[in-house]
């Protein structure tokens, strides 16, 4: 029996735990076939286990006093950069926590919404596969593997968009599938190009090679353009202008709990991928960017791909804020308002990312990333909760058209209260979670000294107030319509909404630990060396024998020094197999 594998430590096994839990839950619900109660039970157990596993990652890897800050898992025991590495660091953990909270809420909600639909179809297995794709995308440390998880996520979401099978659902699904197939092709093209340019797809290895291209004998020039391709793919997932057009139809077509998950979790995968690739992987690349049009002159110049990313994201983000805000004001259904609103809100997340990419001051970059993350958390909670609230309104009244609604507040005060808190969080009223998100975004813009950005953000905030007020007035205040008159809100759905509302209030009031977490996440996102070191500790110090590396304790670089000088120095840049060279990084 030959098993040449590294035996992982406890932290390391934790990294893969959330993925295994959703995978087993997906297979379990499939095996249970046509027993809806058992399926729901297994789903809930999986959701609870997922929450526990993510909380354990949060604590043991990121937040505990002696936490390593990052943990890795080498799938199949194949060492990085050859195998697939899973990395849980602050940024991944922050994103996973967001998904876990909104995912479990929408899972409980689903059980009350869909008993009759699930009987003959695959709702719960697909739900878990969607969660699996999102989880994998947050954890993977490999660019091609990221593509695979995107596909897993998309396959499940295709079916959900077409779930009800009516004409408008099929139409929405057709657009959604066509657009995403195109995006996947572009993604693959970008990944292939990056492999051809740098010779690796492991993110840590990529970062190391791009920081010292000469040592590896590569010309990193094409990487900027390839990164542009990837950026457009991630912008499609995040729904940034000009790739926002699929969002309203797809969000209206999918079942409400799934829409909550699409807006709360899969959208954030796009944002996560932009932050991870831009700041962790490509930030140290030494490439001069010089974009000039003969008639106009130099448009942008810088010595890092970040200058390019920043400029593009900035345009996309501000356009999203305006398009989303203006679009939301005129919609005639609650889903429509929220779908356009989520285009605008993603703009609010993209703008601080753009600020972080354009600035050269480390402190401003840090605060801008924190702002983007806190805003993303707020958006996941508030928008997820609002979409669930629309689901509850639809269960109760059978409609979500603003014209048919009115006076819901007197009919179901608790449902109305939850919707109200969600809207206020979206607007950014203290002490809710949204206030800190908006505050940090404004703070980052002010520190970067950009007046025009501040004005745009302010305009976007005013639009938020306008559409949130309109949606609230039309559906919850005023005369009761016939649809509302005999509406009965489902108690379990309302309980889920209230739990989320309490979470939003709690995040706002007890903001200090959340800030600490977001701070750790931003540090992890910006700490390329730490990431490289966590994935591959024997790479940063020359001469450590690869066979002795303990993948489990591979964080923080503590073990690296021991090997110094035990082996003759290898010449950097000799081989394509980079276990033979090291010491490029400070």
């Amino acid at each position: 029996m030959v098993l040449q594998t590294l035996s992982p430590g406890a932290e390391s096994t934790l990294v893969i735990a959330p993925m295994l839990i959703v995978l087993v839950a997906a297979v379990g619900t499939l095996l249970l076939g046509t027993r809806p109660r058992a399926r729901a039970g297994v789903s809930l157990a999986g959701g609870a286990a997922y929450l526990v596993a993510v909380a354990a990652i949060d604590w043991y890897v990121v937040l505990a006093p002696d936490a390593p800050g990052a943990a890795t898992y080498q799938v199949g025991g194949l060492p990085a950069p050859f195998g697939i590495t899973l990395v849980a660091d602050g940024l991944s953990a922050f994103m996973l926590t967001m998904v876990a909270v909104i995912g479990v809420a929408s899972l409980i909600f689903s059980i009350r919404v869909l008993p009759e639909l699930d009987r003959r179809s695959y709702y719960f297995p697909l739900f878990h596969f969607l969660a699996l794709g999102v989880t994998g995308a947050f954890l993977t440390g490999d660019l091609f593997n990221l593509f695979v998880w995107f596909e897993v996520m998309l396959m499940a979401s295709y079916i959900f968009v077409a779930y009800y099978g009516g004409p408008q659902h099929t139409r929405a699904a057709f657009w959604y599938v066509a657009l995403n197939l195109l995006a996947s092709a572009v993604f693959l093209l970008g990944v292939g190009g990056i492999y051809a340019t740098t010779g690796t797809l492991n993110m840590a290895d990529l970062a190391r090679r791009l920081a010292a291209p000469a040592a590896y004998g590569i010309d990193p020039g094409p990487v900027v353009g390839l990164l542009g391709l990837l950026l457009s793919v991630f912008a499609i997932k995040a729904g940034l202008v000009p790739f926002q057009f699929w969002i309203p139809t797809a969000y209206r077509a999918a079942p409400p709990p799934i829409t909550a998950l699409l807006a709360g979790a899969t959208k954030k995968v796009g944002i996560y991928a932009i932050i991870r690739l831009s700041f962790t992987v490509f930030a140290d690349a030494q490439i001069s960017v010089n974009l000039a049009i003969p008639a106009v002159g130099t448009i942008l110049a810088g010595d890092s791909p970040l200058a390019f990313i920043g400029a593009v994201l900035f345009v996309m983000g501000t356009a999203s804020i305006l398009v989303g805000g203006l679009g939301a004001v005129g919609r005639d259904s609650l889903e429509g308002v929220l779908a356009y609103s989520s285009i605008g809100q993603v703009g609010f997340i993209a703008v601080p990312v753009a600020i972080a990419a354009t600035t050269t001051v480390p402190d401003i970059r840090h605060i801008a990333i924190v702002a983007a993350l806190v805003y993303a958390l707020n958006h996941a909670l508030a928008k997820g909760m609002l979409f669930l609230a629309v689901g509850a309104v639809r269960t109760a009244t059978g409609t979500s058209r603003l014209a048919d609604l009115g006076g819901l507040a007197s009919r179901s005060p608790l449902l109305a209260g939850a919707f109200f808190i969600g809207s206020l969080a979206l607007v950014g009223i203290p002490p809710l979670s949204g206030f800190f998100g908006k505050f940090l975004v404004f703070d980052a813009a002010a520190q970067a000294g950009s007046m025009s950005v501040l004005v745009l953000l302010l305009a976007g905030s005013l639009l938020t107030i306008a559409y949130a007020t309109r949606a609230w007035n039309r559906s919850f205040w005023g005369q009761r319509t016939p649809a509302v008159e005999d509406a009965v809100a489902d108690p379990v759905q309302v309980a889920v909404l209230l739990a989320l509302a309490v979470t939003i209030v709690a995040v706002g009031i007890g903001f200090e630990p959340i800030y600490r977490f977001a701070d750790a996440a931003a540090t992890a996102a910006l700490d390329t060396d730490g990431y490289v070191d966590a994935v591959d500790p024997n790479q940063t110090v020359s001469g450590v024998d690869g066979g002795n590396v303990d993948a489990g304790a591979g964080a923080g670089g503590g073990g690296g020094e021991t090997g110094m000088g035990t082996e003759p120095e290898t010449e950097p840049g000799t081989g394509t197999i980079n276990t033979s060279d090291g010491g490029e990084l400070p």
Partner: protein, 154 residues
């Protein structure tokens, strides 16, 4: 009904396709091949049968069951079996990945064992990757044939 040429060709080709598929499955872990391609090839054999003899042939001709022609294909016993095969395959693949975890190795770790002195073969190599491949094989056959029979009936 299709032509005599088509049906005669199908009789000859289908066994060959199936044998090639199984050989691809078995040697896939260290030679070109594997669960996916073997599954696709096996599905192709079924598709040839479907094209040559019609959608009901498998149930009526091979399994000797009565087929109610008005029934929706997704309720057919054969399609139910395909879907079950898909699920079982997925369970096998995931399970084969989980076994190394129980033995304190990373998820999806693989190994192999060499048996000497086996009758006929002499030297036989059994790889754990075969279990994963088998799972993939079942998933591909189950998934593809479900789609083909349901969409084909429409």
């Amino acid at each position: 009904m299709t032509t005599v040429i088509m049906r005669t060709t199908a009789r000859i080709v289908v066994p060959i396709v199936l044998i090639v598929a199984i050989s691809l499955l078995i040697e896939g872990h260290n030679l070109p091949g594997g669960g996916f391609i073997a599954g696709v090839l096996t599905s192709t054999a079924f598709v040839i049968v479907y094209i040559a003899f019609g959608l009901d042939f498998l149930e009526r001709g091979v399994l000797g069951r009565d087929v109610d022609p008005g029934k929706t294909p997704s309720r057919d016993r054969v399609v139910v079996a395909y879907r079950r095969l898909f699920t079982v395959g997925l369970a096998i693949a995931v399970g084969s990945g989980l076994v190394p975890l129980a033995l304190d190795h990373p998820f999806l770790s693989q190994s192999y064992i060499v048996l000497e002195g086996v009758p006929l073969y002499h030297h036989l190599e059994i790889a754990s990757a075969l279990a994963f491949d088998l799972g993939v094989y079942c998933v591909v056959i189950g998934g593809l044939l479900t789609i083909i029979s349901v969409v084909g009936a429409e």
